[in-house]
Symmetry: C2
Subunit: 229 residues, 2 copies
């Protein structure tokens, strides 16, 4: 929040700007629409080059699939000299962390994060990564698992994991973490049915590794391979 | 910090307990040694079963290779009923996030975290994961890259990546992120020499994917594969 307090202006997706509205009275806030990430970054860079301090508001961690990317892209395109304007990235809590905290301790071993959105990445590249994650026995966190338009990706991901892990492998599903409508559920890999489970863009899916177990509704991955239950 | 304020007692590694000492005057603080993770967790669980509120202090995010694991392990062993004592995990900023924030925007695409410590995981399993991460073109964050005792693992990791990525692939090295002795450097994959670069247990190593580039001393991974520079 300090970064927001110290800014002259704010730029962000309308939904996130609304969430910080109480803290930014008197500041100029540029609320923009989803999908306009490069436009938001460009506006922020314009403001910064004009000599003002601007905060780009991102949900989760701006450094993990967040707004740091578009900002650096715009700065690269404008041949930024690396110091003027000054740029500071403030880490936050990413979806994989809030999901893990609500599920138990699923991320105690090596893990991968994979976005199932094929908007900017070809689906063949994504399936190659799913395959690699499954083969490597990584705990795997799926971002953007399913949207109204994209309904098959999660089913395909499940089928890839089923080729390498037991059907009983625990899978945690967290919707709207830390928001009023929060919902947490646990299923088996075999039971990972996106439509039936209402998986959407506000959902994070955590696939356990071959050692992950369930204890009293919590998803637990042992730290060591010596510790298999 | 709220969780610490609201606790009756604290348990943690001596170095971390010292760091919060100013905020816990009057509380009973159990400072213990490195390597005693299960002992710390057992003590905390004892205190909780005795009816007190106890905070287990962990660096980074307790849910990522952190103290959540040992606590859940002890609770599982004691047939915890899932609700009494109540357990809340508070997410924090993990090493991969502080490293990313200091390096630029390296984690804008799918990524893996792999610990190179073979204390609890067989080295063959770790190399299998390094291979999978390299094949899948994941941005890869290496935790525990090198200790006084373990000096070869990082070299082996580099050699595995060199089989799948250009020798020029950017690698970011962050030591003591956000501490007074903080040091950030960028090398090529080929130049990743752990001994020469003083890589140690306080260091996080971030290996770029095939699209990662350097701009004015910052490490940038484009969000999309359409965006290759």
């Amino acid at each position: 929040m300090d970064a927001i307090f110290e800014s002259d202006e704010l730029v962000g997706y309308r939904f996130y700007i609304d969430q910080v509205a109480d803290y930014v009275a008197g500041k100029t806030a540029h609320a923009m629409e989803l999908g306009q990430e490069l436009e938001r970054a460009a506006l922020a860079v314009d403001i910064a080059y004009a000599g003002k301090t601007v905060a780009v508001v991102s949900s989760g961690d701006a450094g993990i699939y967040g707004m740091a990317g578009p900002v650096f892209r715009v700065l690269t395109d404008r041949s930024w000299d690396g110091s003027n304007p000054e740029l500071i990235t403030v880490p936050g809590v990413s979806a994989l962390q809030s999901a893990a905290a609500l599920l138990g301790s699923p991320i105690m071993q090596d893990f991968c994060a994979i976005s199932l959105s094929d908007l900017l990445t070809p689906w063949e590249q994504i399936t190659r990564r799913l395959e690699a994650a499954a083969v490597g026995d990584f705990v795997t966190i799926l971002y953007n698992p399913r949207s109204r338009r994209r309904t098959m990706q999660l089913d395909e991901a499940r089928d890839i994991f089923l080729q390498h892990r037991p059907a009983s492998t625990p899978v945690g599903i967290v919707r709207h973490a830390y928001r009023p409508e929060q919902a947490v559920s646990l299923v088996s890999l075999e039971g990972l049915d996106g439509a039936a489970l209402s998986v959407d863009m506000f959902t994070t899916v955590v696939v356990g590794n071959s050692n992950t177990y369930i204890h009293q509704g919590r998803m637990v991955t042992p730290r060591g391979y010596e510790a298999k239950q």
